[in-house]
Amino acid sequence: MRHLIDITDFTVEEIEGILDLGDQMIADPAAYRESLRGRILATLFFEPSTRTRLSFESAMLSLGGSVLGFSSADSSSTAKGESLMDTIRTVSCYSDIIAMRHPKEGAPMAGSLKSYVPIINAGDGGHNHPTQTLTDLMTIRRCKGRLSNMVVGLCGDLKFGRTVHSLIGAMSRYEGVEFVLISPPELKVPSYITEELKVKGIPFREVETMEEVMPELDVLYMTRVQKERFFNEADYIRLKDTYILDPEKLRTAKADMSILHPLPRVNEISTRVDDDPRAVYFDQVRNGRFVRMALITTLLNWRENA
């Protein structure tokens, strides 16, 4: 039985198939409105994340399926001391597929060892969040028509940003992709990631400002720079404006560059950018719903045809 624990569990071809299905679903949602009638998605959120949970629930409801689950650990049996493995085994008797979020790293992988139904990792601590990565890939492909041959800029907190790490891992598998890593020195990408890029011979550069690379970028992926990541207030104040995207910084960007952000945003993208045609972060949210519809459908199909 197949699960989605880490984005690299899927081959490039399998991801292609899911993105194709997602595109079809966007083009003709009515054709899929009843396609999972009678199926149940369990959303097990051992840690709250309203956005991600709503995205999964909306996806399942859009396919005619039903949803059950819990939205925090204190409303689940974990509060009574039940082990994760027992919870998963129980819930997998009540549902056809499970989306789970958990504060501990590797929890969805552990759950998949005992589950009778496919597990989707909806985020495990700072470790993985593969459906965000699918959403990012879908958005980039819809904007560019491809996932190969492009310069991808990633900006902000590249040290702790798991969405950034997964996206680099996923995009590394396509031809001709070059990364530009834009961050303060304190928040650079961890060395195990740059080591891996070196080993694979994938070109990348580390810079400290977006202005110096803006004209080259095909995609600009923005992330939040959180105050608590800095040792002191002074460093934060000194650096924070450097990593805020505004219309002035965009002046030298390509006319067809795409601006992505995993949301929620705080202030790292000025609201003055929102109406720029290059801003696609709200399309990204919509794509997130359709790519989850495609993912749920695909995992259930694989299971039935296995």
Partner: protein, 143 residues
């Protein structure tokens, strides 16, 4: 026990000097009933100095565990006073319940029923990765 001559059993040779105690502990040799000799700092042409462990009984030894602690060890199997097999070790591809994950955020730290699985990531550098959280651990042998 004559530590030079073993009748039927196992001789672990070419243990890196000082690592014999780790081997002794990992193989739980303090729990076996048969005679065991642990010889430290033996002169060796190849290593300068080495440790040797002799076990005078045909017990089952987990070669994966041994390979993880020190892939340089040679395992000699003795039957009726004769050397019948000489095994070379290497770092195993997979370790189950040999080492534990040190990442405090890892699910294995709270879910007691889980086995500890590590997968060899980089043979040259002796790096293992926790199957659950991807945290890395370096083989003791290469530390």
């Amino acid at each position: 026990m004559n530590i030079d001559a073993i009748h039927s059993g196992i001789v672990l040779d070419h243990i890196k000097a000082g690592r014999g105690m780790d081997v002794y502990r990992f193989l739980k040799l303090d729990e076996v009933d048969c005679p065991v000799a642990y010889i430290r700092n033996v002169r060796s042409n190849a290593l300068g100095r080495k440790d040797i462990i002799k076990i005078d009984s045909e017990i089952q030894v987990d070669l994966d565990v041994l390979g993880y602690i020190d892939p340089g060890i040679t395992v000699n199997i003795i039957k009726d006073g004769k050397l019948v097999e000489k095994k070379k070790l290497s770092l195993p591809e997979k370790l189950v319940n040999v080492i534990t994950c040190k990442n405090p955020r890892c699910i294995t730290t709270v879910e007691n029923a889980l086995d500890q699985h590590f997968i060899l990531k980089d043979r040259a550098r002796g790096i293992y990765r926790c199957m659950f959280c991807d945290a890395e651990r370096k083989s003791k042998a290469l530390r």
